[in-house]
Symmetry: C2
Subunit: 493 residues, 2 copies
């Protein structure tokens, strides 16, 4: 088979394609190489995060792996082993109880492995002839998630790269919807607790300046929304949040929905975080009013325990997805569509598209609604217990929401506001640089304070159902110790 | 550990998280399950595509797998085995020589397995504390690809979900660039050979109606571009294509760059397909002029043999990426940035983001520049040979470009234009429905015909370096046979 000289022939033994029998044998062999490399990287790291901070992590990495595009390669097995062990030793481990900063879920093993199958088979969801089974599966899973979100069968769900893309597509659908029925420059209205991706989407879409409502407390005020919509002459899209990133707060969805409807506004709910409380029989009532949304953002890479990405955009009336229609003869020629080959291009603003639905389908089948609900319950219940522990020993400024709890070490109590903020941020960085913990932060308006004063808090986001008080007590003690030393040092300066 | 009753405890044995020692043992076990399931799916399919067409493929799938969200799950191992074998048997295999329709690359085994590691470790590239090593790796790989594209060290590269997102971000950068230095409504100018995602991006971004230049032949005409830019009063972005989807044509980049510069327009090149001719010493000259672009779209999931997604957007002046700046205190607070924690949010329009760079880095290290160049060479060389074979036996309306060849069976020669188009499309569908082949199609203006008449052609896109004339001769014979039967049938109707 080799038609080239000796040098080039080396690529031929390494460039094994994944899809056929020979390829699957290679995938089996290389998977073992990758898992072993992750084990060695994990041992090398020995904790939730690499130590040394950004500059040292980068330097160690370059020493092992530069140059990144050699003229002649080292072969697949060596490259995979070297690269994966280095990446692993320099990664944070979201399954470690002390890695508790972000809406950054520890993925299920089964979902990660389903992603391997997605990569090996490599369907592309822009045409049926690239994705016969996965395009069908995506439609099935999409419909059932929409049924769950809206409580009726007229909806559908698009899979996205995450909440940010979902919010963008929701606003795009709203813009185009109004262009056809009530032309004019659509305004976005949301509270100041909305995720940054909402205003960013308005900017990308070329919408006029958003109307951002101040939150007195931490959630959208329906009366303020009503007044804002009164003042807008023309179409509007209202975005409410079900689970803010900073505090886990859920806006009053029923009232917001009613107000939006009164003004004929499109009602979008960003439930990237809170949406899959729907899995839980005990917590789903927190989402009352979600059913009335025109569109809903949800992320299965948060509650759902999927590796990135598993974003969703549910729309309550699936006919509206035709607003995304686009024609490209090589993918959805009319005669092919008439012959029964599904037209898929209106299911995304992307073209080539990975089947993220596969890992979702495996997880749904493996755990069922009840298993996923139990995992949500466990995270939320554990958060309440952790908050009680914090209340007893540290400062708990707000009640926890969903699985988010904000707090401050008791060591900063006696410091001035600015100094306390500094100690809080510094404590977080020290624990991160030492590789001891990955803790979140949030800056929020100060309570009982007029004007724009803010305070910085530490934040736990519990997305690991095995993370409970027992596992977090040592971490809380360590946080208090570090905060205490930093306070001491700062006092002396 | 179990605090729940018997029913719920079943999720606890299945919900193994991937990241720690126990998790890696589970990943090892489940990887074997997934590979075996793919082997069984592959055997069941027995060819490049499932047989039966869309309705039957869907029905078989539902019979095996519904309901898709049971109340109680079947467990991880069973779910993975059942779902992956069904998905696999219902997938097309891009590594099969007869799967040759689209810019749908057969992925390298090593890259697919690197994607497993990405999913297991699950870094998220929106903040350093979620992706210490992979954020650094992305920056290193991004710079070196920009160096390759521009021939200087001032550029940088963003990783995207593919050419569609890359084109969108390029137009967004251009829009914002001009907003700051020459405000006004930016116009998009491109030829009618541009990918549909270019006009779609203009629509998403709220730009005014694009100026689409007719191509006399199949590539952008620099003189027509010059005249169009003369007529535009205000800022403009010019998009040229290096490797069209339908024909593989490359626009005259040097002349287009010069014309764009003359009019102070932003010059973007959509090189999603042709960009990695840069790997090849023999073919890279086809891209002369690429160096002069302001931004370049490239896809490593085409030439590059990555599983989806591995999109790239190169910008020649990396300072311009600050146009995407956004602030979110929980991800890039000023004091963290000042303390040396990299601010990553301007590297994407997404927020949570999968490390697609890992598989790219493994592939670069494994094969080196010379290995990747040899693979490109092989695909292009084989395409020329295949075209010669077609020329001898069938109708070759255009010379092949890059690795794309258009043709028609000789059986349609004597048919009327409309009937011939019908037979061509029908032939493609029959081979697909029988599970025998996945062939592309392209509809192009008819040669030597005035007005808007078009013709439909069959298309091969060769992205598999092992696909050569020997392997395609049986397929070409089968295509001719089917076309002949369809022509016969149509003649009788």
């Amino acid at each position: 088979m080799a038609r080239y000289g000796t040098e080039e022939s080396s690529w031929e033994s390494n460039a094994v394609l994944s899809g056929d029998t020979v390829g699957l044998t290679e995938v089996r062999k290389l998977s073992e190489v990758a898992v072993s490399a992750m084990e060695s990287g994990e041992n090398e790291r020995g904790g939730p995060a690499p130590s040394g901070g950004p500059a040292l992590v980068a330097q160690r990495f370059d020493e092992r792996l530069a140059p990144y595009l050699p003229e002649v390669g080292v072969g697949g097995e060596a490259a995979l082993s070297q690269m994966v062990s280095a990446v692993s030793s320099g990664s944070v481990n979201p399954a470690d109880p002390s890695c508790i900063a972000h809406l950054h879920a520890p993925p299920l093993a089964m979902a990660a492995v389903a992603d391997l199958a997605a990569s090996v088979l490599n369907p592309s969801l822009d045409s049926w002839d690239q994705a016969p089974s996965t395009s069908h599966l995506e439609q099935r899973i999409g419909r059932l998630i929409a049924d769950l979100a809206f409580g009726h069968e007229h909806g559908d769900t698009l899979m996205t790269t995450g909440g940010t893309e979902s919010n963008l597509v929701a606003l795009l659908l709203a813009r185009e919807h109004f262009e056809r029925i009530r032309p004019g420059s659509m305004r976005l209205v949301c509270a100041d607790n909305a995720h940054h991706s909402v205003a960013r989407a308005a900017w990308i879409l070329g919408l006029s300046e958003p109307v951002i409502l101040p939150t007195d407390g931490r959630t959208l005020q329906p009366e303020a929304l009503d007044r804002a919509l009164d003042r807008i002459d023309g179409p509007a899209v209202v975005v409410a949040t079900a689970g803010t990133t900073d505090t886990g707060d859920i806006d009053p969805l029923r009232e917001a929905a009613r107000t939006a409807r009164k003004h004929s506004a499109w009602f979008h709910v960003d439930a990237a975080y809170g949406g899959f409380l729907l899995f839980s029989e005990r917590y789903r009532d927190c989402l009352e009013g979600l059913h009335e949304a025109d569109s809903v953002t949800m992320d299965l890479h948060k509650f759902g325990w999927q590796p990135l990405a598993a974003g969703l955009l549910c729309v309550s009336d699936r006919r509206r997805l035709r607003l995304l229609d686009v024609r490209a003869d090589y993918l959805n020629a009319d005669d092919d569509t008439e012959a029964g080959f599904p037209d898929l291009l209106h299911r995304s603003i992307r073209t080539s598209r990975r089947p993220d639905v596969l890992k979702v389908a495996v997880t749904f089948r493996a755990l069922g609604r009840s298993g996923l609900g139990a995992m949500v319950d466990r995270c939320c219940d554990n958060t309440l217990e952790i908050a009680e522990h914090i209340r007893a020993k540290m400062d708990l400024p707000f009640e926890p929401n969903i699985s988010t709890v904000l707090f401050r070490p008791s060591a900063v109590r006696s410091l001035s506001p600015a100094t306390a903020d500094h100690v809080v941020s510094e404590t977080r960085r020290i624990l991160l640089e030492r590789g001891r913990a990955v803790i979140g932060r949030a800056t929020l308006p100060a309570k009982q304070s007029a004007g724009t004063a803010t305070r910085t808090y530490l934040k736990f986001t519990v997305l690991n159902p095995w993370t409970d008080t027992t596992r977090l007590v040592p971490l809380l003690d360590e946080i208090e110790d570090v905060a205490s030393s930093v306070s001491e040092r700062v006092r002396k300066e």
